[in-house]
Protein backbone atom coordinates (compact mmCIF):
# COMPACT_ATOMS: atom_id res chain seq x y z
CA UNK A 1 0.00 0.00 0.00
CA UNK A 2 1.10 3.55 -0.55
CA UNK A 3 -0.38 7.04 -0.68
CA UNK A 4 -1.02 7.82 -4.35
CA UNK A 5 -2.63 11.21 -4.21
CA UNK A 6 -3.91 13.96 -1.93
CA UNK A 7 -6.52 16.45 -3.14
CA UNK A 8 -7.18 19.64 -1.21
CA UNK A 9 -9.73 22.35 -1.73
CA UNK A 10 -10.65 25.07 0.70
CA UNK A 11 -8.51 23.45 3.38
CA UNK A 12 -6.54 26.12 5.24
CA UNK A 13 -4.33 27.98 2.71
CA UNK A 14 -5.36 25.70 -0.18
CA UNK A 15 -8.19 27.87 -1.47
CA UNK A 16 -7.65 26.66 -5.03
CA UNK A 17 -7.99 22.94 -5.67
CA UNK A 18 -4.59 21.23 -5.56
CA UNK A 19 -3.79 17.60 -6.47
CA UNK A 20 -0.50 16.11 -5.34
CA UNK A 21 0.54 12.75 -6.91
CA UNK A 22 3.02 10.92 -4.68
CA UNK A 23 5.48 8.18 -5.64
CA UNK A 24 6.56 5.14 -3.67
CA UNK A 25 9.98 5.88 -2.14
CA UNK A 26 10.97 9.30 -0.86
CA UNK A 27 8.80 12.33 -1.63
CA UNK A 28 10.22 15.66 -0.46
CA UNK A 29 7.97 18.71 -0.03
CA UNK A 30 9.83 22.02 -0.10
CA UNK A 31 9.03 25.71 -0.09
CA UNK A 32 9.28 28.97 1.86
CA UNK A 33 8.06 29.62 5.41
CA UNK A 34 4.30 29.91 5.57
CA UNK A 35 3.69 28.56 2.04
CA UNK A 36 1.43 25.70 3.22
CA UNK A 37 3.65 22.61 3.61
CA UNK A 38 2.59 21.75 7.16
CA UNK A 39 -0.99 22.44 6.16
CA UNK A 40 -0.65 19.33 3.96
CA UNK A 41 0.37 17.34 7.04
CA UNK A 42 -2.70 18.72 8.83
CA UNK A 43 -4.89 17.82 5.83
CA UNK A 44 -3.72 14.20 5.86
CA UNK A 45 -4.28 13.90 9.62
CA UNK A 46 -7.71 15.44 9.21
CA UNK A 47 -8.94 13.24 6.36
CA UNK A 48 -7.78 10.16 8.31
CA UNK A 49 -10.12 11.18 11.13
CA UNK A 50 -8.21 13.54 13.46
CA UNK A 51 -10.75 15.13 15.77
CA UNK A 52 -8.53 17.29 17.96
CA UNK A 53 -8.47 20.81 16.53
CA UNK A 54 -5.47 21.55 18.74
CA UNK A 55 -3.48 18.84 16.90
CA UNK A 56 -4.35 20.69 13.69
CA UNK A 57 -3.00 23.93 15.26
CA UNK A 58 -6.48 25.48 15.33
CA UNK A 59 -8.74 26.59 18.15
CA UNK A 60 -12.16 26.06 16.53
CA UNK A 61 -13.52 23.72 13.86
CA UNK A 62 -13.81 26.52 11.29
CA UNK A 63 -10.06 27.13 11.42
CA UNK A 64 -9.46 24.47 8.77
CA UNK A 65 -11.62 26.27 6.21
CA UNK A 66 -9.91 28.90 4.04
CA UNK A 67 -10.48 32.11 6.00
CA UNK A 68 -9.88 34.49 3.12
CA UNK A 69 -6.98 36.88 2.65
CA UNK A 70 -6.33 40.35 1.33
CA UNK A 71 -6.88 39.07 -2.17
CA UNK A 72 -9.57 36.46 -1.64
CA UNK A 73 -12.87 36.03 0.11
CA UNK A 74 -13.37 33.27 2.72
CA UNK A 75 -14.72 29.92 1.55
CA UNK A 76 -17.68 28.04 2.95
CA UNK A 77 -16.27 24.54 2.89
CA UNK A 78 -13.05 22.56 3.19
CA UNK A 79 -12.54 19.22 1.46
CA UNK A 80 -9.64 16.78 1.47
CA UNK A 81 -9.39 13.46 -0.35
CA UNK A 82 -6.70 10.85 0.05
CA UNK A 83 -6.27 8.10 -2.57
CA UNK A 84 -4.44 4.95 -1.49
CA UNK A 85 -3.10 2.10 -3.57
CA UNK A 86 -4.63 -0.96 -1.91
CA UNK A 87 -3.43 -3.71 -4.28
CA UNK A 88 -1.99 -5.58 -1.33
CA UNK A 89 -5.39 -5.28 0.41
CA UNK A 90 -3.83 -4.07 3.63
CA UNK A 91 -7.18 -2.38 4.14
CA UNK A 92 -9.82 -5.10 4.40
CA UNK A 93 -11.74 -3.95 1.29
CA UNK A 94 -12.05 -5.51 -2.16
CA UNK A 95 -11.02 -2.27 -3.86
CA UNK A 96 -7.45 -2.04 -5.17
CA UNK A 97 -7.75 1.74 -4.82
CA UNK A 98 -9.30 3.36 -1.77
CA UNK A 99 -10.44 6.98 -1.70
CA UNK A 100 -11.34 8.70 1.55
CA UNK A 101 -12.96 12.13 1.47
CA UNK A 102 -13.77 14.47 4.34
CA UNK A 103 -15.71 17.71 4.05
CA UNK A 104 -16.66 20.34 6.60
CA UNK A 105 -18.91 23.39 6.23
CA UNK A 106 -18.90 26.60 8.26
CA UNK A 107 -22.15 25.44 9.83
CA UNK A 108 -20.11 22.65 11.42
CA UNK A 109 -21.71 19.95 9.29
CA UNK A 110 -19.33 17.21 8.28
CA UNK A 111 -19.43 14.63 5.51
CA UNK A 112 -17.32 11.50 5.03
CA UNK A 113 -17.01 9.29 1.98
CA UNK A 114 -15.31 5.95 1.32
CA UNK A 115 -14.93 5.48 -2.44
CA UNK A 116 -17.65 8.10 -2.98
CA UNK A 117 -20.12 6.30 -0.68
CA UNK A 118 -21.17 8.31 2.40
CA UNK A 119 -19.96 6.82 5.67
CA UNK A 120 -19.32 7.84 9.27
CA UNK A 121 -16.13 9.18 10.84
CA UNK A 122 -16.10 6.01 12.89
CA UNK A 123 -15.88 3.87 9.74
CA UNK A 124 -12.77 5.73 8.60
CA UNK A 125 -11.08 5.55 12.00
CA UNK A 126 -11.80 1.82 12.30
CA UNK A 127 -10.51 1.16 8.79
CA UNK A 128 -7.03 2.29 9.81
CA UNK A 129 -6.89 0.65 13.21
CA UNK A 130 -3.77 -1.49 13.63
CA UNK A 131 -2.11 -0.11 10.50
CA UNK A 132 -0.01 2.41 12.43
CA UNK A 133 -1.79 5.18 10.51
CA UNK A 134 -4.33 7.51 12.04
CA UNK A 135 -5.12 8.18 15.69
CA UNK A 136 -2.25 7.36 18.08
CA UNK A 137 -0.18 5.94 15.26
CA UNK A 138 3.49 6.67 14.55
CA UNK A 139 3.19 7.40 10.91
CA UNK A 140 2.65 11.16 11.10
CA UNK A 141 5.23 13.32 12.88
CA UNK A 142 4.26 17.01 12.94
CA UNK A 143 6.70 19.94 12.93
CA UNK A 144 8.44 20.25 16.28
CA UNK A 145 7.01 16.93 17.48
CA UNK A 146 10.11 14.79 17.14
CA UNK A 147 11.39 15.89 20.55
CA UNK A 148 8.12 14.61 22.09
CA UNK A 149 9.46 11.05 21.73
CA UNK A 150 12.04 11.92 24.35
CA UNK A 151 10.05 14.27 26.56
CA UNK A 152 7.02 12.03 26.97
CA UNK A 153 6.99 10.21 30.26
CA UNK A 154 7.75 6.48 30.25
CA UNK A 155 4.05 5.68 30.82
CA UNK A 156 2.95 7.75 27.82
CA UNK A 157 5.55 6.08 25.66
CA UNK A 158 4.08 2.77 26.77
CA UNK A 159 0.70 3.77 25.32
CA UNK A 160 2.33 4.55 21.98
CA UNK A 161 3.95 1.14 21.96
CA UNK A 162 0.68 -0.60 22.61
CA UNK A 163 -0.70 1.03 19.49
CA UNK A 164 2.05 -0.54 17.40
CA UNK A 165 1.81 -3.93 19.10
Amino acid sequence: MYLKRVELQGFKSFADRIEIEFQPGINAIVGPNGSGKSNITDAIRWVLGEQSIKTLRGSKLEDVIFAGSHGRRPMGMAEVSIILDNSDHLLPLEYSEVCITRRVFRSGESEFYLNKVPCRLKDIQELFMDTGIGKDGYSIISQGEVDEFLISRPEERRLMFEETA
Binding site: F14, V30, Y138, L150
Partner: protein, 152 residues
Amino acid sequence: MEEMFLNTFQRVKVEFQKVFVELFGGGKAELILDDGENLLDSGIEIIAQPPGKKLQNLTLLSGGERALTAIALLFSILNIKATPFCILDEIEAALDDANIDRFTRYLKKVSGHTQVIIITHRKGTMEVADALYGIAMEETAVSKLITVKLED
Protein backbone atom coordinates in the same frame (compact mmCIF):
# COMPACT_ATOMS: atom_id res chain seq x y z
CA MET B 1 -2.35 -8.86 24.99
CA GLU B 2 0.54 -8.43 27.37
CA GLU B 3 2.45 -11.09 25.45
CA MET B 4 1.94 -9.25 22.16
CA PHE B 5 3.18 -6.02 23.68
CA LEU B 6 6.22 -7.74 25.14
CA ASN B 7 7.02 -9.41 21.84
CA THR B 8 6.86 -6.13 19.90
CA PHE B 9 8.79 -4.37 22.62
CA GLN B 10 11.60 -6.91 22.54
CA ARG B 11 11.91 -6.65 18.77
CA VAL B 12 11.93 -2.84 18.77
CA LYS B 13 14.42 -2.92 21.66
CA VAL B 14 16.89 -4.98 19.63
CA GLU B 15 16.29 -2.85 16.54
CA PHE B 16 16.80 0.42 18.44
CA GLN B 17 20.25 -0.72 19.59
CA LYS B 18 21.25 -1.25 15.93
CA VAL B 19 19.67 1.84 14.40
CA PHE B 20 21.11 4.16 17.07
CA VAL B 21 24.64 2.90 16.38
CA GLU B 22 24.17 3.32 12.65
CA LEU B 23 22.83 6.89 12.93
CA PHE B 24 25.42 7.98 15.51
CA GLY B 25 28.30 6.06 13.98
CA GLY B 26 28.84 4.35 17.34
CA GLY B 27 27.79 4.72 20.96
CA LYS B 28 24.95 2.73 22.45
CA ALA B 29 21.30 3.00 23.44
CA GLU B 30 18.68 0.96 25.24
CA LEU B 31 14.95 0.78 25.69
CA ILE B 32 14.09 -0.34 29.21
CA LEU B 33 10.85 -1.40 30.83
CA ASP B 34 11.08 0.47 34.09
CA ASP B 35 8.93 -2.01 35.98
CA GLY B 36 10.03 -5.49 35.04
CA GLU B 37 7.59 -7.01 37.54
CA ASN B 38 4.41 -5.32 36.48
CA LEU B 39 4.49 -5.28 32.69
CA LEU B 40 0.95 -4.04 32.31
CA ASP B 41 1.82 -0.76 34.01
CA SER B 42 5.47 -0.46 33.18
CA GLY B 43 6.66 2.66 31.35
CA ILE B 44 9.38 2.66 28.70
CA GLU B 45 12.65 4.45 29.43
CA ILE B 46 15.17 5.57 26.85
CA ILE B 47 18.91 5.38 27.56
CA ALA B 48 21.21 7.01 25.01
CA GLN B 49 25.00 7.32 24.98
CA PRO B 50 26.60 9.01 21.94
CA PRO B 51 30.03 7.65 20.87
CA GLY B 52 32.86 8.32 23.34
CA LYS B 53 30.57 9.98 25.86
CA LYS B 54 29.60 8.88 29.33
CA LEU B 55 26.05 7.74 29.93
CA GLN B 56 24.02 10.67 31.23
CA ASN B 57 20.45 11.88 31.51
CA LEU B 58 18.76 12.44 28.13
CA THR B 59 18.19 16.07 29.10
CA LEU B 60 21.94 16.78 28.93
CA LEU B 61 22.15 15.71 25.30
CA SER B 62 22.43 18.45 22.69
CA GLY B 63 19.51 19.51 20.50
CA GLY B 64 20.91 17.57 17.56
CA GLU B 65 21.70 14.47 19.63
CA ARG B 66 18.15 14.41 21.02
CA ALA B 67 16.65 14.73 17.55
CA LEU B 68 18.84 11.92 16.21
CA THR B 69 17.95 9.67 19.17
CA ALA B 70 14.22 10.27 18.60
CA ILE B 71 14.70 9.58 14.87
CA ALA B 72 16.49 6.33 15.74
CA LEU B 73 13.50 5.26 17.84
CA LEU B 74 11.03 6.23 15.12
CA PHE B 75 12.99 4.32 12.45
CA SER B 76 13.24 1.27 14.74
CA ILE B 77 9.48 1.18 15.12
CA LEU B 78 9.00 1.61 11.36
CA ASN B 79 11.49 -1.21 10.70
CA ILE B 80 9.63 -3.59 13.00
CA LYS B 81 6.08 -2.46 12.37
CA ALA B 82 6.16 -0.88 8.93
CA THR B 83 3.21 1.38 8.22
CA PRO B 84 2.37 1.83 4.52
CA PHE B 85 3.49 5.47 4.54
CA CYS B 86 4.88 8.04 6.96
CA ILE B 87 4.60 11.83 6.93
CA LEU B 88 7.65 13.55 8.44
CA ASP B 89 7.48 17.31 8.96
CA GLU B 90 10.99 18.80 9.29
CA ILE B 91 12.13 16.11 11.73
CA GLU B 92 15.80 16.64 10.83
CA ALA B 93 15.88 20.42 11.39
CA ALA B 94 18.30 20.22 14.35
CA LEU B 95 20.90 18.00 12.63
CA ASP B 96 24.23 19.34 11.36
CA ASP B 97 25.42 18.38 7.87
CA ALA B 98 27.43 15.35 9.01
CA ASN B 99 24.38 13.93 10.78
CA ILE B 100 22.11 14.78 7.82
CA ASP B 101 24.36 12.49 5.76
CA ARG B 102 23.80 9.50 8.02
CA PHE B 103 20.14 10.39 8.41
CA THR B 104 19.47 10.47 4.67
CA ARG B 105 21.34 7.24 4.05
CA TYR B 106 19.15 5.55 6.65
CA LEU B 107 16.01 7.24 5.32
CA LYS B 108 16.74 5.63 1.94
CA LYS B 109 16.68 2.21 3.65
CA VAL B 110 13.44 2.94 5.46
CA SER B 111 11.83 4.00 2.15
CA GLY B 112 12.39 0.44 0.96
CA HIS B 113 9.52 -0.77 3.15
CA THR B 114 7.64 2.45 3.96
CA GLN B 115 6.71 5.26 1.56
CA VAL B 116 8.24 8.47 2.91
CA ILE B 117 6.68 11.91 2.54
CA ILE B 118 9.01 14.41 4.15
CA ILE B 119 8.74 18.18 4.45
CA THR B 120 12.20 19.65 4.54
CA HIS B 121 14.39 22.74 4.16
CA ARG B 122 17.61 20.65 4.00
CA LYS B 123 19.55 20.13 0.76
CA GLY B 124 20.81 16.73 1.87
CA THR B 125 17.26 15.44 2.26
CA MET B 126 16.18 16.89 -1.11
CA GLU B 127 19.12 15.09 -2.72
CA VAL B 128 17.85 11.63 -1.76
CA ALA B 129 14.27 12.31 -2.82
CA ASP B 130 12.75 10.27 -5.66
CA ALA B 131 10.23 13.06 -6.24
CA LEU B 132 10.24 16.74 -5.27
CA TYR B 133 7.16 18.92 -4.70
CA GLY B 134 7.38 22.67 -4.36
CA ILE B 135 4.75 24.58 -2.40
CA ALA B 136 4.61 28.31 -2.99
CA MET B 137 2.22 31.04 -2.01
CA GLU B 138 0.68 33.67 -4.26
CA GLU B 139 0.30 37.28 -3.13
CA THR B 140 -3.29 36.26 -2.47
CA ALA B 141 -2.02 34.03 0.38
CA VAL B 142 -3.22 30.96 -1.50
CA SER B 143 -0.97 27.89 -1.67
CA LYS B 144 -0.05 26.42 -5.02
CA LEU B 145 1.94 23.43 -6.23
CA ILE B 146 5.07 23.90 -8.32
CA THR B 147 6.53 20.93 -10.16
CA VAL B 148 10.20 20.84 -9.25
CA LYS B 149 12.46 19.08 -11.72
CA LEU B 150 15.02 16.73 -10.16
CA GLU B 151 18.42 17.16 -11.76
CA ASP B 152 20.59 14.24 -10.74
